[in-house]
C-alpha cells in the first residue's frame, strides 16, 4: 500500500511537471485547446494504466500516445490538423512589433499548409526540442525518415516564404 501511494505521488508529480508541455504539443498537433485536453487526458490515462512500464520515461510514453491519437484524428477527419488557426491574440503584441507578428503569422500559415506528418516532425523537433532519434521513436519511424521529412518541410516553408517575399517586393 505504501509503495502504491509512492507510485501515485510519482505519477502526480509527473503530471504536474509534464502536462503543460504535453498540452502545448497536443495543441499544435490538433489546433485547439479543447481537443488538446482530450488527447492529453487519454494519454495520461494510458500512461497511468501502464505505469510499471512507462515510469522510466513517462513523458516520452505519454507524448507518443498524444502523437498517435493526433495522427489517428487526422486520418479520421481526413484533413490536416492546422486548419484551426492559431489565434493572433495569443501573441504578445506588446513585446513584438507588427512586422514580427506578421512574419510569424506567415511562417505559421506555411506550416499549416504542410502535410500532417511533416507538421508533427517540426513540432516535435523545434517545439519539444527532441533529437532526431527521439522524434523517430515518438513517431514510430526511422531516423532517416525524420531527417527527410524535416528537410522537405523546411524546403517547402522556405519556398512559400520566398514566394511571398517576391510577391511583396513586386507590389511595392
Amino acid at each position: 500500500m505504501i509503495t502504491e501511494r509512492r507510485e501515485q505521488r510519482a505519477f502526480e508529480a509527473f503530471v504536474a511537471d509534464a502536462s503543460g508541455r504535453l498540452m502545448r504539443t497536443a495543441y499544435l498537433l490538433c489546433g485547439d485547446s479543447g481537443h488538446a485536453e482530450d488527447l492529453v487526458q487519454t494519454a495520461l490515462f494510458r500512461t497511468a494504466r501502464r505505469w510499471h512500464r512507462a515510469r522510466q520515461q513517462p513523458e516520452a510514453y505519454a507524448r507518443r500516445v498524444v502523437v498517435n491519437l493526433a495522427k489517428d484524428r487526422w486520418r479520421t477527419l481526413g484533413r490536416r490538423p492546422g486548419e484551426a488557426a492559431v489565434a493572433l491574440d495569443t501573441f504578445d503584441t506588446a513585446a513584438t512589433g507588427r512586422e514580427d507578428l506578421l512574419e510569424r503569422e506567415r511562417l505559421l500559415a506555411a506550416i499549416r499548409r504542410l502535410p500532417a506528418g511533416q507538421q508533427a516532425v517540426l513540432v516535435l523537433r523545434f517545439l519539444d526540442d527532441l533529437s532526431v532519434a527521439e522524434t523517430a521513436a515518438t513517431l514510430g519511424c526511422s531516423e532517416g525518415n525524420v531527417k527527410s521529412q524535416t528537410s522537405r518541410a523546411l524546403d517547402r516553408i522556405r519556398d512559400v516564404l520566398d514566394q511571398e517575399k517576391e510577391n511583396a517586393d513586386a507590389d511595392r
Binding site: Q41, F45, R73, T76, A87, F126
Partner: protein
C-alpha cells in the same frame, strides 16, 4: 534565402510564442503499478460493470451536430478509485457505462456530413438503427468505431481507450459494458 539554421530558429520562436499558456485541468488517473494491482483493478472494474444498468434507449434527440468533441454527458465528479455510472448520448443512442479509477471512458466526436467511411473499415451489425464500422485502432488497446444513423448523414466517431473491441461492441449492442 534563409539558411536551415535561421529557419529552424524562427520556427522554434514561432512555436513557442504562438502557443497560449495551457494548463491541464482534467483528471489525474490512478496508476497501476504492477500486474497484481492491475488484476485487482480489473476485478473491481468487472464488479462495477456487472452493476451497470443494461439500458439502451433511443435518446430523446439526436446528439447535436457540429460539435467537434464532447465529453460524456451526465457525469459527476468522481474520486479516484470510485465507480460511477456515466451516460453518453451519441448518434441518437444512449449508452451507459461504469467509470472506474478515473477512467475517462469513451470519447466521441462528430465528423460531420462530409466525412466518408474510410476504405477498409469493417462494418458490424449491431441490430440498431445505426450503421457501425470498426476502424484501425489509433493505438493498441484503444478501439474505435464510426457510427452513422440510417436517416442522417452525419458520421460520429467513438473512441474507447483501454477497452476491448468486444466491450465496445457490447456497449453498442446492449447499452452497457459486458463482462
Amino acid at each position: 534565402m534563409l539558411t536551415d539554421e535561421e529557419l529552424t530558429s524562427r520556427l522554434t520562436t514561432a512555436f513557442q510564442e504562438s502557443v497560449p499558456e495551457l494548463t491541464y485541468t482534467g483528471r489525474v488517473p490512478r496508476v497501476r503499478r504492477s500486474a497484481t494491482l492491475a488484476t485487482t483493478s480489473v476485478l473491481a472494474a468487472a464488479t462495477a460493470l456487472a452493476l451497470a444498468p443494461h439500458a439502451l434507449q433511443r435518446g430523446p434527440e439526436p446528439a447535436p451536430q457540429g460539435v467537434p468533441s464532447v465529453r460524456p454527458s451526465g457525469q459527476s465528479p468522481t474520486r479516484a478509485g470510485h465507480t460511477v455510472t456515466r451516460t453518453l448520448d451519441v448518434a441518437g443512442l444512449r449508452l451507459t457505462y461504469a467509470s472506474v479509477d478515473g477512467s475517462p471512458g469513451p470519447l466521441y466526436f462528430v465528423l460531420g456530413p462530409d466525412t466518408g467511411v474510410p476504405a477498409g473499415a469493417e462494418q458490424v451489425d449491431v441490430g440498431l438503427p445505426v450503421d457501425v464500422w470498426f476502424v484501425d485502432d489509433p493505438a493498441p488497446g484503444d478501439p474505435q468505431v464510426l457510427i452513422r444513423t440510417h436517416d442522417a448523414s452525419t458520421l460520429y466517431g467513438l473512441l474507447a481507450p483501454g477497452w476491448t473491441h468486444q466491450q465496445l461492441l457490447d456497449l453498442l449492442e446492449h447499452g452497457s459494458q459486458q463482462q
